[in-house]
């Protein structure tokens, strides 16, 4: 079953809910190795996104919805997550522009463009203890799932599972990008908050597709 704008809207509403629910967890993770604002910033951003959902035209495509998320996050999230997620959603929207229904290849294109957007903006590589450590395995797993002939929901599930493992795998790492890089070895043992929020958002994308 292909994914349409209803899926995108469910993903967005679910994202706002999950970010709100995990606000304290993300703040705590960020306080340990960053400036402690990740949960609050994302919650503020997605609350603003939620308000704008009502303004979305009835004929909006999934790409239109993701573009709205991008511009809203960019102007409402005060930390690094604003430009990073904003660019991710913007590139993702561009990769699926004009498509009313997303097939498996489109889902992989969306995820790949989002990952590339994060890399473009943050210039981080896998292993730097950043969002890339969730996005990179997610894209690889999604591509494998597509090649194995799985459907859209299963592709997103594979991506989310890989992102969750990737987020957990940031714990033993020393950060090479972002505020945590100032901490050196003191960052070891702490999960990267950006990787964690990325995994949460991808899990919601999978859940929204499973309920389609």
């Amino acid at each position: 079953m292909t994914l349409n704008t209803d899926w995108a809207v469910r993903w967005i509403k679910g994202s706002a809910a999950v970010v709100s629910e995990h606000r304290v967890e993300l703040i705590t993770l960020d306080r340990e190795i960053g400036d402690g604002d990740h949960g609050e910033n994302l919650d503020r951003g997605f609350s603003a996104v939620l308000l704008k959902l009502d303004d979305l035209p009835t004929d909006a495509t999934p790409g239109d919805a993701l573009k709205m998320v991008a511009t809203t996050l960019i102007s409402t999230v005060g930390g690094a997550a604003g430009p990073l997620y904003g660019t991710a959603y913007l590139k993702a929207a561009g990769a699926i522009a004009g498509q009313a229904e997303l097939d498996g290849a489109a889902v992989v294109a969306l995820l790949t463009a989002a990952r590339d957007g994060v890399v473009l903006r943050g210039k981080a590589a896998p292993g730097d203890k950043t969002m890339v450590d969730a996005w990179s395995p997610a894209v690889d797993a999604a591509a494998e799932a597509l090649a194995a002939g799985l459907d859209e929901a299963a592709i997103l599930d594979a991506a989310a599972t890989a992102a969750e493992a990737g987020a957990r795998a940031t714990e033993p790492l020393v950060a090479r990008k972002g505020r945590a890089s100032y901490l050196g070895e003191r960052a070891i043992g702490h999960r990267d908050p950006g990787a964690q929020s990325s995994a949460l958002l991808l899990r919601v994308a999978a859940d929204a597709a499973a309920g389609a």
Binding site: N41, I74, S75, T76, G78, A80, G82, P83, G86, R121
Partner: protein
């Protein structure tokens, strides 16, 4: 959303500067500091989030760039990582023609801002202002800083001369800028206590105050008049008493 437009507009023919900081106070303080040496240059602060918190705001950065852009270029200086990300994102959203003349410089914020402001005030083009800001990167890297009172390296050839600083506040920002401006017009390299006389940050970082004696030196056989000109400026007290 409440958009706070900075109270400046681009100054015709001059490169504008935008200071992006997580803190509104830091950004505003930089405008205040840089304006001392660049009163005729468009400077805009883009600090803090839209609701006045600590962070950076896409809208504030975008508004600041628009406010100082007179068409010849804008140099953006940023503090920590996400300020750079926000500035880069704001730049991506500009029209192609405008984007080409906006340069984000990775340089120490305070030193880079001062160096860029002096260059912009002097009418430097975009490349010159960018280069001035970048020159701040190595400004404080010198390990063996010569002592303030003499101690300059031996000058085998050339000419050197000691002068005493007479103006009340020493070589603070404005006199230092005046000194560097003159040094830049001279054809020969001159050092102040072993540091390049053309480096504003090098000069300012010595913290020279009234009563300090400095060694002006050149290794150039033809450098005598240059050293004497700079010595004359120092002895004139820069118009201060």
């Amino acid at each position: 959303m409440q958009r706070q437009a900075p109270e400046v507009t681009g100054v015709s023919g001059k490169v504008g500067l935008v200071f992006v900081s997580h803190s509104a106070k830091i950004a505003e303080g930089l405008v205040e500091l840089a304006a001392q040496m660049a009163a005729g240059t468009a400077l805009a602060a883009a600090g803090g989030t839209d609701d006045g918190g600590v962070g950076t705001s896409f809208d504030r950065v975008a508004a600041a760039i628009a406010a100082v852009d007179s068409g010849v270029g804008v140099v953006v200086l940023c503090d920590l990582g996400s300020a750079i990300l926000t500035a880069e994102t704001a730049k991506d959203f500009l029209d192609d023609a405008v984007r080409e003349r906006v340069v984000i410089v990775d340089a120490p914020l305070v030193e880079g801002a001062v160096a860029a402001a002096v260059e912009a005030e002097g009418g430097g083009d975009l490349a010159a202002v960018v280069s001035a800001a970048r020159s701040a990167i190595g400004a404080f890297a010198t390990e063996d800083r010569p002592s303030v009172d003499g101690g300059a390296a031996r000058v085998p050839e050339g000419y050197s001369r000691s002068v005493t600083i007479v103006n009340r506040d020493g070589l603070h920002a404005r006199p230092a800028a005046e000194f560097v401006k003159m040094a830049n017009t001279l054809d020969v390299p001159v050092t102040v206590n072993g540091k390049d006389a053309r480096s504003l940050l090098g000069i300012m970082s010595m913290g020279l105050v009234k009563g300090n004696t400095i060694e002006l030196a050149t290794t150039s056989p033809n450098g005598r008049s240059a050293v004497d000109a700079l010595a004359g400026l120092v002895e004139s007290g820069f118009g201060e008493h």
